[in-house]
Symmetry: C4
Subunit: 228 residues, 4 copies
């Protein structure tokens, strides 16, 4: 049961380290089996070097643990995202260096080039600050709600990630592997955007036609990028 999903979630967690997005244990990837209503997620505080399928937990959408050790402390955030967005198959959270710098600066990442436009036509948003009572009562679930607010009425394929203020990025996709790919892209977009501002403090925004072209040729109905 869930063997394929477990494999995909284990692979996604290991990919976070391989891509340099994770220091020590700070990150987690999950995946969902929509039919069974079960989420597989990294257990809390587990080191990546020796991670195996046994270090994954299985929880219901209500957060009840069905199998494995204590799930990641961020599990309620993942669950809020799966509940809000039916199309999601995987969710990733990290404290990756460059995206975290933007998060700590509480600044959205502007669309400065085609690398960003290949990923999203919008700036990467910063979720709103939680109130003290939201932090006290269900901090992690409130965090999920704030991310959902930040996506707003846009579709998750156009907003594949969000920054938590003073914290770091969340990213998602149709599968755990796609969520990792979006987390990798968000990190690189964050890095190059910071460097771009060093070279030109107020960068000229990417012209609209080029932005649209890049997003559409990769994700639009007439996409012609990749093997299909």
């Amino acid at each position: 049961m869930l063997e394929q999903l477990r494999d995909a979630v284990l692979e996604a967690n290991l990919a976070l380290t391989a891509h340099g997005l994770v220091t020590l244990t700070w990150g987690n990837a999950s995946g969902i089996d929509r039919e069974r209503g079960l989420v597989v997620i990294k257990a809390s505080g587990v080191p990546y070097a020796s991670m195996s399928a046994a270090d994954l937990a299985v929880v219901t959408l209500d957060g009840e643990v069905v199998e494995g050790g204590r799930p990641s402390t961020d599990t309620p955030t993942h669950l809020a995202l799966y509940a809000a967005f039916e199309e999601l198959g995987g969710v990733v959270h990290t404290h990756s260096t460059w995206a975290t710098a933007w998060a700590q600066a509480t600044r959205e990442i502007p669309v400065l080039g085609t690398t960003h436009a290949d990923f999203s036509p919008f700036p990467v948003p910063v979720a709103r600050e939680l109130t003290a009572s939201e932090v006290d009562a269900g901090y992690e679930a409130s965090t999920g709600a704030a991310i959902v607010d930040a996506v707003g009425d846009r579709c998750t394929a156009e907003v594949p990630g969000v920054l938590l203020p003073w914290h770091g990025p969340f990213a998602w996709g149709a599968t755990p592997a796609a969520a990792v790919e979006n987390a990798v892209t968000l990190e690189q977009v964050a890095r190059v955007a910071l460097l771009t501002e060093r070279l030109r403090p107020q960068p000229r925004p990417i012209p609209g036609p080029v932005l649209a072209k890049h997003f559409e040729r990769k994700h639009g109905p007439r996409a012609y990028y990749g093997q299909r």
Copy 2:
């Protein structure tokens, strides 16, 4: 047929990853067989980790696919360069971090040192912005035309690469391996130039005699660098 060229192009694509110029699938290297008029290029959206000769496409100079999967979306740009510059044997495109920062800042890279002078006696130019109609009708071929404009009446050995505004670098050479070497050099030149400006916002330009000496000792008619 084309076996040697296929090997060279595969090796060039893998070298892009080995040199850290490529994130995920964002980059492509090609090579040309001038006698047959055929170009070998990476297929679109293919991951580098498992790439083999089967992940290469063969196209004519008119862009007709002769063998393999869908070629890189950037193929028309490569073809425009091969058509304009007979001396080119290889072309490379990446979104490498530091060169992309200059591209997103829409700034040419000034000649700040001998690493640059060993590569080119000119600043690395930024190609002109495309018009909305150029983007709509044949974006990738128009991109190639803009690169050709940026080289202008100089020879490609003196302008071994160009930045696409809001996008990233293209580089080239007599072979796919030489194109990769120029892409690696351009990235390092971009990196050190950005750091130099941190230490001195208006760096003094490299004196003319040193610039000329370095380019000439490596590329001039009386070059004395390397084994010959």
Copy 3:
């Protein structure tokens, strides 16, 4: 005798290199056996690449060498920390890049995000400057005393590391491995804090409730992070 501690200290020293905190021989990790009153520490100037248990020295709390070659020149600093703080089981010193930049800038690291809050509720302090006579008479022991002053009346679990001005970080923990983990965290906190200031010169401090939540959920009496 001390075999387990020797293994732990060797592993901690090797982990410093594996985490990229050490250039050449610049760093050292130690551990203590409280019952026997013996400290195991890296020998002075030994390269990491070929390090074995034979490159460790054993010293008393008075600094007398019991076994092995000349101990690290920084040994008196380690001993001062073990003497002042009974709860410490391991101590680490490095010249890691980003933490050393803050140390050379003689600036404490402000709490800019949850990565920091997961580690400590306080800014990372800078120890006071030594007087000329402190430098002359027992420089390394005086350094230890200055670190103890910087912790002040707080507990070491809340101040898991300190910056030496113009020098670099010291970090500690209940075991040599925990000390390494704190050194890794301090370096990443230092790196992201520097980058955050590039994006926003006067960053808004992390709100108090989020800071408290993160430190408490990991280290407080009702902690719910990790497997327990």
Copy 4:
């Protein structure tokens, strides 16, 4: 003949790559046999990945090639240093990223911390600009003369490296391995100094007593660092 020196020079060249100081073929290490008056140096333009003892050249102090392919174009610079400073056993030149940024900014590296003080009590100097006629007639030998001028009446153990303006670093030592170690240190000192200035534009200089203490405990007559 010279087998041991050849091994040491090969190892030093390979260490440049292992320490990340070299891109492509841009760097060279040499060593000298003072009794025979012969210098072993990397051949020009040779790739590091496949380098073997056969890729080394042997030259006299007058620059006559005794064995091997064409020596590095920078050979006359190395020879000038060996001629001027009898105590040198190894010389290294690279275009390493951070030291090259300072060189391109034509700024000496100030002594901002103990990492620098462990290496040299002086700022890392920038050699003077060559005149046009020095560039024309014997550029590489003139470069050597300018480095000798930059060391001045100080001893090479106190000035273990120099920056060439708009170019990059030279470093040296009693052996090829010691020269590599100084090149590695110079690069790290350059990196942390640049980052320090980001955090504090006009850093307070390291206090004199700490500077003296660190240089003396490692290199002075009563040094107590390392195994002796």
